[in-house]
Amino acid sequence: MFAFILRRVGGMIPVLFCVSLFAFGFVRLLPGDPARLLAGPDATQQDVQIVRESLGLDKPLWQQYVRYMTQTAQGELGKSARTDEPVATVIGERFMPTFWLTLVAMVWATILGVVIGVISGVRRGKWQDQTGMVLAVSGISFPAFWLGLLLIDLFSVRLHWLPTGGNETWRGYILPGFTLGVAVAAVMARFTRSAFVEVASEDYVRTARMKGLPERRVVWTHTLRNALIPVITMTGLQFGFLLGGSIVIETVFAWPGLGRLLVDSVNYRDYPVIQAEILLFSFEFVLINLGVDVLYAIVNPEIRLR
């Protein structure tokens, strides 16, 4: 397995190279002159020219590309055009808040989602199943910003239990973590249920029952373990999406995360930051896919990694 991981990590390099090329081209396809936008609403033409030169945007495109690729290859991401901070700092400061929030949301949502999914699967068609699925559909269709504002109104304004936003204390993680996880829990529940139902009709499950194994073991060991493969895939995907930051959650809960940073950077055409974020998101996805593959092998030893 170790060799497999090593090979896959090596395989990332061409992928990331292609992504960096794409990112460079993509930001330049956005309409609007970044120097004009960055210089501010009442800048003179002279101010705009100063910004343009300081960003190197007055140079021909191929020179900009060579400079960008040389820098990127050396792990140097440049400076934010909007704040003059090193891009690594800009992203670094926001990555950890996003990462921890994602982790909090994923952990509770996955556990709850899987439990609800299994119960619904076992009690198919009964009231437990119907309640579970009503909850799941509500969770998916509830607009996150509305739920977030309701929670703030209840827990911060009326009860004074939790802060309205910000990540300064652990209490700050509760509301955004819950809100962010709701949709994930709902998706996980539905996914687990259908995978579970499918596996439950397999021969080996029937065999397990006929052997006289207790129902508890049939459900949690034989059925669930085999139903987990698509669930793991889904978890990985959701994890990857959430790591990109959620503009809605970050806006409602004043969270210093990557989603708001990306939107702000696009609005101001902050090329270096947009490029670096695209690169980071791709890197995360490649890494998560690798993690998912490894998990497959752990859950189901029949799958061999080559």
């Binding site: 100063i50 703030i152 309205t164 409602v252």
Partner: protein
Amino acid sequence: MPNPEISRRGLLAGTAAIGATLAFADLAHAASPSGILTVGVQANLLTLDPANANDTLSQGAARLMLEGLLGFDKDMKQIPLLAEKYDANEAATEFTFHLRQGVKFHDGTPFDAEAVKFNFERIANPANRLKRQSLLAMLDHVEVIDAHTAKCVLKNPFGAFVPTIAHPSLQLLSPAAIKKYGDQIGRHPVGTGPFVFTSWTPDTLKVTANPDYWQKGLPHVKQVVLRSNPEAGARIAMLQSGEAQFVNPVPAPMVQLVANNPKTAMLEAPSIFANYMAMNVMKKPFDDVRVRQALNHAVDQKAFAKIVYSGHATPLLSAEPPHVTFYKEQPAYAYDPAKAKALLAEAGHKDGFSAVLWGGNSTETIQAMQFLQQQFAAVGVKVDVRPLEGGVLASKIWTVQKPEDSELEMYYGRWSSSTGDADWALRPLFATSAFPPHLYNVGYYSNPDVDKALQGGLETADPAKRQAFYEDAQARIYKDAAWVFLGIGNTLAGRDKKLSDAWVLPDGGLLIDAAKLG
């Protein structure tokens, strides 16, 4: 002024007798700045180097730690800060500032004429690539007359130099700190102000009371925390839950929420943001002054205030708002659809015409454009509303190289003069030299008499003469109906009732250095 309370700084500059009583009261209080003031703001700070900042939020935040030679009171009237007084030569090419003595930067560097020279020449030098270089582009050099006298020598006459010096982007940083931190000075601001920089993470700025501040008795609070909270509802929740004592801005539809809460109150004052609709006077039918006047008569300014600003706005009755210097109210274009129709018929548009209206894509802007669409429809003018994303707007309007290449017909926008001076309120929008891409005259309005008046106002530092020039310019622009004049939104902030002396300037910037809790 709508607010009867007298600002803290206003008092300091006031009569000696009152000043002395107050100083006494302050001394009794001086021992203990106490409490934490948390302020909820909309956006993220970009930099704390004001010379590199083009947003009022960053400039207002810098104002906690830094000071200029001159500053603004809460009504944007100039007040002396690090300069006690100034004088200018007749030709408006030399301005001498007499500096306050015994002031030190937070790092111990003395504040003196050398520091002024270092700061201003740093900004003026294009090689330093600061976003606000143009503010001092006319500066030739600063002469150090003695330790406490600095003379700014300009390349050409610039009558608006004194208001420019009051601009928050010209607040002074410690020369030693600039040398130490280089281009990262914006992360490590060191000034002379009432608060000392403590920390700045993406969403949160913290500053702590400066024990050696030169204005005795200030500041009143121990710490100020600026937290950005982009969602208006959540920002107001910060105020309601007691997490924040001041929030800015409050969207007009949410004003009641703050006003009706027994613990909180609204702070409302006229801004200097002029909302206008420009028309491309190089294109038909807008080249005809009767058409432009007709459109002015077609708009009910009171309805504009009510619909777009939920009533929190006043009519715009000149090319600049009242809080800008040398304002002169003009005879209003009365709301009169019949007269509008008659004027259109006279201009040969009996059956009206169609045109495209461009603007930004914020909710408020779209609402305003739809309002105009309805008003103009009543006089037979069909308007196609096109909200555009910032980048698209920039490439279609601001960076157009030649007037004849502009596709713009009508444009809805707003403008505030960041110096609070008539020059920057009028010249960028109405001078012939301000056609894009140079500045913001997007309607390509051009009137030699207006150009002459605007230039005249720059060539003298005598306020009486400037007054005459700018009043002349305002009268001509209004009569030419260069814009459809719409309204001036109010600044809207929410405060905890325990908080006093925290203000929002008419330009939307924060002024909280003298704030008091309890």
